[in-house]
Symmetry: C2
Subunit: 219 residues, 2 copies
């Protein structure tokens, strides 16, 4: 599909960037990757040039031509608004609401608590050591997944994917969060529905090509 000119400022391991990579792949939109290394040189997201693009100094930023698009879930909405084919949201408002709510359970209530900047602040304000930081990380993922499992399990709206039988914004958020959970050794045993949906997604080319290890800047 003709996408105009899409350039994604991305870091291979960033879950917010991973979400947008999945969304772009699901929509079959071509894009270039512009790597921003979040650790090297004290974090390339803090350069004056990048800070101009995004004053939050976060990835991702999606450039559509000269248009600067920030915030992963707002970027996904824009993709659907701009290119209606291969929708990331169900057509029925109540189903779209549920898909968005699941996305927000992850994007608001799990991920931001586990951000790099939060880990750094726990270190500087409370002298947190590695074990305490890992514990913090696992705590918020577990609390979030416990609620999410309840929302997904035994609900007739849950299908092969979080909402119905087509991947939505909810799955774009779920898969990167499970990747993070596994990285931090959170057991997926208590979350069989999350695990089942994640496995389903991970079998698809669109998700495989968005995976951190498949990125040009992977280490």
């Amino acid at each position: 599909m003709t996408s105009g000119n899409l350039r994604l400022y991305s870091f291979w391991r960033s879950s917010a960037a991973y979400r947008v990579r999945i969304a772009l792949n699901l929509k079959q939109l071509a894009y270039e990757i512009e790597p921003v290394h979040l650790v090297k040189d004290g974090g390339q997201q803090h350069t004056a040039e990048y800070s101009e693009l995004n004053p939050q100094e976060f990835v991702p930023v999606l450039m559509h031509g000269n248009r600067i698009l920030r915030q992963s879930t707002a970027i996904m909405e824009y993709l659907d608004d701009t290119w209606p084919e291969h929708p990331l949201l169900p057509a029925v408002p109540r189903d779209a609401q549920r898909a968005r709510a699941i996305a927000q359970m992850i994007a608001c209530d799990i991920h931001p608590l586990n951000n790099l900047r939060v880990m750094k602040y726990l270190e500087s304000q409370f002298g947190a050591n590695q074990a305490q930081k890992d514990e913090w990380m696992k705590h918020w993922i577990s609390v979030g997944f416990e609620a999410l499992e309840k929302v997904l399990a035994n609900n007739p709206s849950t299908g092969s994917f979080c909402e119905g039988d087509t991947p939505t914004v909810a799955d774009c958020c779920l898969v990167p969060q499970v990747f993070n959970a596994v990285r931090f050794k959170v057991s997926m045993k208590p979350y069989p529905t999350i695990k089942r949906i994640n496995d389903e997604c991970c079998g698809m080319e669109e998700f495989k090509n968005a995976h951190p290890t498949a990125q040009p800047d992977a280490e």
Copy 2:
């Protein structure tokens, strides 16, 4: 406007509930308030009955008839999808993207870090005292407002409100966050654009009627 049957599970001081109250008022939709006291009895959001409604045990939940709607920003999208009059989002995709991105800057990257459950966990995991918790709170609001001020200031898309001259989801998120900032004694001096927009909003009936102190459960 006929709204069917809308019932909002709300706590007067919750900023996520405050967002949805503003949104409902802007859309001129009638609704009933069902108070959920987040502190009394160890938090009424933790009862089995409420946890059934929302496994995250957060307010707000909006009931539309028997339909359970969770997550404030996903609820606002549903209101626009269901009742197109008095839209909370601009019609042009790039403007809608910007409004949503501003909403997410607050809903993802400021508010969840300052949630009650996070304060409690800082206490239990790091023995944080009141001064340290206040410092934590102010830190994330300040970091967030600094970026937000840059996004809003000197940008031709910013009008009387965050995006253009009509209130959007961005303003629904901004005003409750400023209320919180003032409550935690964050000076608004470094953020003149945020302050100007907040003042504009606070002059409107729709925002006044959504204010924490105007709620039936205000203390």
